[in-house]
């Protein structure tokens, strides 16, 4: 019997997990579900010692465990397969499987025993990966299998599987489910299973734990409730915070009908992340991209900006273009802004320099910077976007997260883009700034095409003309007009249909 008591973790102002308590019985499988930012992965890391909780404790059969690192968690029989993998790329498969539990003979690695153990284990899992192959050379599917096997080989008493089926084929999934049932029955292992595939969670779980905004909503018996009940629990009651907005999409649709598409995408493929995505965006249109995190939305936008290789066609104002780098994209009037301001701004440089970077570059590297024009441009953008800074020479480092994001956006706007790609740009931004930026995006969209991915549907609703839902790399639904409702979109995102 495992008990989690009052686990709490904040990152800055964001409460990732708040006062989470529940008990987990031996030999049972617990599905852990929740929407974007519900705190699932954080919760796993709190128990496995990767992150230290601000408050709360973990008990095993009534005894409090001191877990300060993954090493402690291991000692207490806790293991996990992580969503983002925890493999060593430069070691062979066998040494990843047995990392830190290598068999030793006379002080040396016992190679025979090591190979024997790993072979036997992988045979049980019905996988055929050469043991001496370096992990860096494995495919994502193989890496996923090794990540899971690495946790299983420890024979843990409490096992977390965070999105273990992401890269698995149909048969491999069946094998995993068989193994889960085996160890829960045989070794009486407690298993916490996280997946974005809700039917899967229903199939394998004895109990389903629902998280929302870092809090426990409830624990449900999958035999007694329907998928819809759980989905409703994940969505919760709709937030009031955006009620100041009126829906504008419908009014704009009439105008838009005449317009030709500014940006067209035809059957775009990106490795195994995005499958056959096609869409059109007209001038004056904001197309919202929704869905759970990691369903290919970011990759999709990054590919259009030349950050990822793709197959398929990108058509701008009727002309097919090939984009292989951000330089190409900028040339075609495409600007990309991500939610990670650290990726886009130079913290130690001034607001002024950050804003005028691209326009300075466009004037040519051989010219001196026209400091007067640079300053004027900066002041213009600071006013336009209402950036809170002391003066244009202040380093961006001293600005708040929301204002850094605005600086990032301001730079993008200096090139007067035709097409604006926003990749979850309001992540971690306070509500007032969020509203300001949303207003700005709406304003900007008047003579531009905007693709706006948000992990929080509430950001899309007030400004998007339509919303496309991504699931496992494809667009599965489109919402327009009266259908633009948070509950409907979230339901489609979670169910994948």
């Amino acid at each position: 019997m495992w008990e989690l008591e009052g686990l709490t973790k904040s990152f800055g102002a964001i409460r990732a997990v708040e006062d989470f308590s529940c008990s987990l019985e031996e030999g049972r499988v617990y599905g852990l579900v929740g929407g974007n930012g519900a705190g699932k992965s954080t919760l796993v890391k709190l128990v496995t010692g990767v992150l230290k909780p601000d408050k709360g404790k973990v008990l095993k059969n009534g005894n409090m465990l001191a877990i300060n690192s993954p090493r402690d968690a291991r000692k207490h029989g806790i293991a996990a397969a992580y969503q983002e993998f925890s493999l060593v790329p430069d070691l062979p498969v066998v040494n990843n499987l047995l990392l830190n539990i290598e068999p030793v003979k006379f002080g040396f690695i016992d190679i025979d025993k090591m190979i024997g153990k790993a072979t036997k284990f992988l045979e049980k899992l019905n996988v055929n990966i050469p043991l001496s192959k370096l992990v860096r050379d494995l495919s994502p599917t193989e890496k996923q299998v090794i990540e899971i096997a690495k946790a299983l080989i420890l024979e843990p008493q409490l096992l977390f599987l965070d999105e273990p089926t992401n890269y698995l084929s149909e048969e491999q999934r069946e094998i995993l489910f068989k193994i889960i049932n085996e160890i829960k029955g045989g070794a009486k292992t407690t298993i916490v299973f996280i997946s974005h595939r809700i039917e899967e969670v229903f199939r394998i779980s004895d109990q389903i734990i629902v998280l929302r905004n870092g809090r426990l909503v409830g624990i449900y018996d999958p035999k007694r409730v329907s998928i819809d009940d759980v989905v409703r629990a994940m969505i919760g009651e709709l937030a009031e915070e955006y009620q100041g907005y009126k829906y504008v999409g419908a009014r704009m649709e009439a105008v838009l009908e005449k317009e030709k598409p500014m940006l067209s995408i035809r059957s775009l493929h990106i490795m195994d992340k995005v499958k056959n995505v096609s869409l059109d965006v007209k001038k004056g249109e904001i197309v919202g991209l929704a869905g759970l995190l990691g369903q290919g939305q970011s990759e999709f936008l990054r590919a259009i900006y030349g950050l990822l290789p793709y197959e398929g066609m990108i058509i701008i104002e009727g002309k097919g273009v090939k984009i292989t780098s951000p330089r190409d994209a900028l040339k075609h009037g495409i600007v990309y802004i991500s939610g990670d301001a650290l990726e886009g701004v130079f913290l130690l440089r001034s607001v002024k320099e950050n804003i005028s970077l691209i326009s300075n570059l466009q004037q040519g590297l051989h010219k001196f910077v026209n400091t007067k024009a640079e300053k004027e441009l900066a002041i213009k953008m600071i006013r336009k976007l209402n950036i809170a800074c002391m003066n244009p020479d202040q380093p961006v480092l001293h600005l708040s997260g929301g204002n850094r994001q605005k600086v990032y956006l301001a730079r993008g706007l200096t090139v007067n883009p035709k097409i604006l790609l926003l990749d979850d740009p309001l992540k971690g931004v306070d509500i007032r700034t969020k509203r300001e930026i949303l207003n700005m995006v709406k304003e900007l969209a008047k003579d531009r095409a905007v693709l706006f991915f948000s992990s929080d549907v509430k950001e899309l609703l007030p400004i998007a003309n339509r919303v496309l839902v991504f699931f496992e790399g494809s667009i599965i639904r489109e919402f327009t007009g009266d259908q633009l409702r948070e509950d409907l979109i979230l339901e489609a995102s979670i169910k994948g249909a």
């Binding site: 090493r71 060593v88 430069d90």
Partner: protein, 316 residues
């Protein structure tokens, strides 16, 4: 089953890297012979000169594997050479303790660097650049000019060999076997793991800081061994001897497959790279490059080699 084991041992021995490095070594030796046939007669004495560099390169490699760097190996070598000679000259320490002192100084150097990097978490480039100046300064304080002699028995050891076995063979055997022991011990896997992904190593319950600390202790041991051979070869204490060795040691490790980002590199390949580089220096000498330009030419060749090594890696 059997083939699986063979494959794994091949992976551990890093055959591809080894082959590149050994061909580099043989290539340079052949060039030497072509330029000056008499080199054949001196092969073993030139190789003896390579022994200190081989140990020093191993010292560098071992920290490279964990993702750190040591800018102080050359100065460390000097200190571990100067202190025992000083102890002999002014305090009459001349028995086995004379040899032991080299190792003690080496280990102390490793302890300081390891504490700064592994335990206090100071960036290794900065920390060792600073300690490099400290070792160099200490060396000059202890001996402000090259001084000798060294104990006669020790000097004779390098002339006549140990029980008739030349010191060059003993040196190379020690270097190779120490690497093999390391490579087939469990700890080497943890070294590579930490250098390749410290996060994954942490998740597996490995104490990343302790591994980095241990790497510097082993690094110190190798520095001590390098000094043992250096003292025997130059038969004196020289407060400036080690300076140019840092760059050569780094280069030998890089040719041996090491990366600045960690997680890679092979010892045997590094040792043969050290031999190759020593013959490279000899080649420059044989070609009649004037003394004051030798460092210049050597450094240019070293940079060219570095560029080639990086290019070959990119091709893979």
């Amino acid at each position: 089953m059997k083939s699986g084991k063979l494959q794994l041992i091949k992976e551990y021995l890093n055959l591809r890297m080894l082959l590149t490095s050994i061909s580099f070594m043989i290539g340079v030796i052949l060039l030497n012979v072509v330029v000056n046939l008499k080199t054949l007669m001196y092969i073993s004495s030139i190789t003896l000169l390579a022994v200190p560099l081989a140990f020093l390169a191993l010292a560098e490699l071992i920290v490279f594997i964990t993702g750190e760097v040591d800018m102080s190996v050359g100065a460390g070598l000097t200190l571990a050479n100067v202190i025992p000679v000083y102890a002999y000259l002014y305090h009459g320490i001349e028995d086995y303790r004379f040899i032991l002192l080299h190792i003690v100084v080496g280990l102390s150097i490793g302890l300081v660097n390891g504490t700064l990097v592994g335990l206090l978490r100071i960036n290794s480039f900065l920390a060792t650049l600073a300690t490099s100046s400290i070792w160099a300064g200490l060396s000059l304080t202890i001996l402000n000019k090259p001084e000798g002699p060294i104990p006669t028995w020790y000097y004779r050891l390098f002339m006549d060999g140990l029980l008739g076995i030349p010191m060059v063979i003993i040196g190379m055997l020690v270097a190779i076997s120490m690497w093999m022991v390391f490579r087939f011990s469990k700890i080497s896997l943890h070294f590579y793991a930490v250098g390749s992904s410290s996060y994954a190593a942490f998740i597996a319950g490995i104490n990343v800081n302790v591994i980095k600390f241990t790497a510097f202790i082993l690094n110190g041991l190798f520095i001590g061994l390098a000094a043992i051979f250096m003292t025997g070869i130059i038969a004196s204490g020289d407060p400036t001897i080690g300076l140019p060795y840092t760059l050569s040691a780094i280069l030998a490790a890089i040719i041996g497959g090491a990366r600045f980002t960690g997680g890679a590199g092979d010892g045997i390949a590094t040792i043969s790279a050290a031999v190759g580089l020593t013959f490279m220096r000899n080649l420059i000498f044989s070609l009649g490059v004037p003394f004051y330009q030798q460092d210049l030419v050597y450094s240019i060749v070293v940079l060219a080699l570095l560029a080639i090594a990086m290019y070959l890696r990119g091709v893979k």
